[in-house]
């Protein structure tokens, strides 16, 4: 597997109104491989969302560089799609029209657009709702639309920022299974931000554990389990416990984040 994304000595500072500089990320180094499912895991304030914004091109690093296929990231790019926690669906467009949006922007001809829409509406199982508007759908269904909209432009990388964070536990489990299935079908590289340890263990090939003040990579843990994964499996629980310890050992105070 080749390296898809290279993060080299990245710092990110934010300057507050009163002039104080807050270091959100410090000396981050990481290689993300082609076709890998990578989870960024950590508590609030650990810089995972900052790192995510840098990867997706919404912000620029203060120092260091981020390369995707050898090219520095200078801004958002349709080849690297982002899925947000709040879906970002256009309420004035139906499910179909939402999925079609990226293809319209790319100037794909109408016939081909329809084909793609059909394919991805089916992939996320929303055939019955293709003419519905977002506000008529549940949160889980809305996130499926957002995923289909991103996939329709056939991106090489999916960046997902706590995409299931707003969903209830049962729906979240189902969406996790769904995204693994979709990833199996399409084989994109996925960078998935979460603060849910079980979610990370269920999804990831590797889990990047981050710690705060300043945000940095604390450890990288490979999850060498086959799929589909069973949340009650012995290996699953063992890896989960390793991560629990990882956080518990950092500082005693931060323990309450995870219980």
């Amino acid at each position: 597997m080749g390296v898809k994304i290279k993060i080299q000595d990245v710092d990110k500072n934010f300057t507050a109104r009163d002039g104080t500089v807050h270091q959100a990320l410090s000396k981050v180094n990481l290689n993300i491989f082609e076709g890998e499912f990578l989870c960024l895991l950590g508590p609030s304030g650990c810089g995972k969302t900052t790192l995510f914004n840098l990867l997706a091109g919404f912000e620029q690093p203060t120092n260091g560089k981020i390369l995707i296929e050898g090219q520095p990231v200078t801004g958002p790019n349709p080849r690297y799609q982002t899925i947000f926690q709040n879906y970002g669906l256009f309420p004035w467009r139906s499910v179909e029209e939402n999925i079609e949006y990226g293809l319209e922007v790319a100037g794909v001809p109408r016939e081909k657009r329809k084909q793609q829409v059909n394919r991805y509406v089916a992939m996320v199982g929303l055939e019955k709702f293709r003419h519905s508007h977002p506000r008529e759908l549940s949160g889980g269904m809305q996130q499926r639309v957002a995923i289909a909209r991103a996939l329709a432009v056939e991106p090489e990388v999916l960046f997902m920022d706590e995409p299931f964070g707003a969903l209830d536990a049962m729906t979240r489990f189902r969406m996790q299974e769904e995204i693994v299935r979709i990833w199996h079908e399409n084989r994109q590289t996925i960078v998935f931000v979460t603060h849910d340890i079980e979610e990370a263990v269920f999804l990831a090939d590797r889990i990047v554990i981050m710690s705060p003040h300043p945000g940095r990579i604390k450890n990288v843990i490979a999850v060498s389990m086959g799929r589909p994964r069973d949340r009650t499996d012995y290996d699953f629980i063992k890896i989960r416990d390793v991560i629990y310890k990882e956080f518990a050992l950092s500082t005693k105070k931060e323990l309450d984040y995870y219980i």
Binding site: P76, T82, F84, G88, F90, V105, A106, H133, R135
Partner: protein
Amino acid sequence: MGKKSPTGLEKYLLPLLTVTGLLGIWQLVAWLGIWKPYELPAPSAVVTALVELAGQGILWEHIGISLYRFFIAYLVAAVLAIVIGLILGWNLRLHAAFDPLIQILRPISPIAWFPLAVIWFGIGTKPALFIIFMSVFFPVLLATITAVRNIDPLYIKVARNFGATEQDILRKVAIPAAFPNIMVGLQIGLATGWIHLVAGEMVGSQSGLGYMIIDARNFLRTDVVMGGMFIIGGLGLLLSRTMSWLERRVGAKWGFAPREEG
């Protein structure tokens, strides 16, 4: 808000009761003859006057010319205000340049423009059009600017991620996203425009509902004055309802939740 919301039939019966009750009291007071008929004409006299004017065709002429003026001025003001509002809402630097000017002009009542309107445009339809324009333009402009500036930044982020150009975003994201709030401005503009139509016609015009009222006052035809007022009120209500209906149609097509009617 009361404890019980009205049932279907009550929604129509209750206001009907209020209106007939008030009309009854008014008719009774007029019959008592405390005031002279030209001071307080009876509702029956008002209806008679209206029927008479309608029979002569004068009423329809005035209504026609008023509606015509209103639509022209409203359309021009609304289109200009939306276009300028979209530009100013989108471009932060232009907004910074023009905002103080807008803030100074906005609180000036359209009626304060009367003297200038007559000096600039003379007597006739033009000053009335100008007054309506002024009363529609600012509410729609401000609503549009606010609508554009309050667009959820996530929509813009998504559009940029797909590689949309600035123009793409304005056309396919900003305008539909701002639509519900622009609509609020169009409703307010409709109301203020209609209010000032009558005012505008009272000064510069020789026709229209406003002129009809002033003209009737000069002949102490209070019944016609009141009749004219009712016509203006009724037409205003009709316009506002038509607008709400249009809003719901477009809103339904674009998947927005219907706004509660105020």
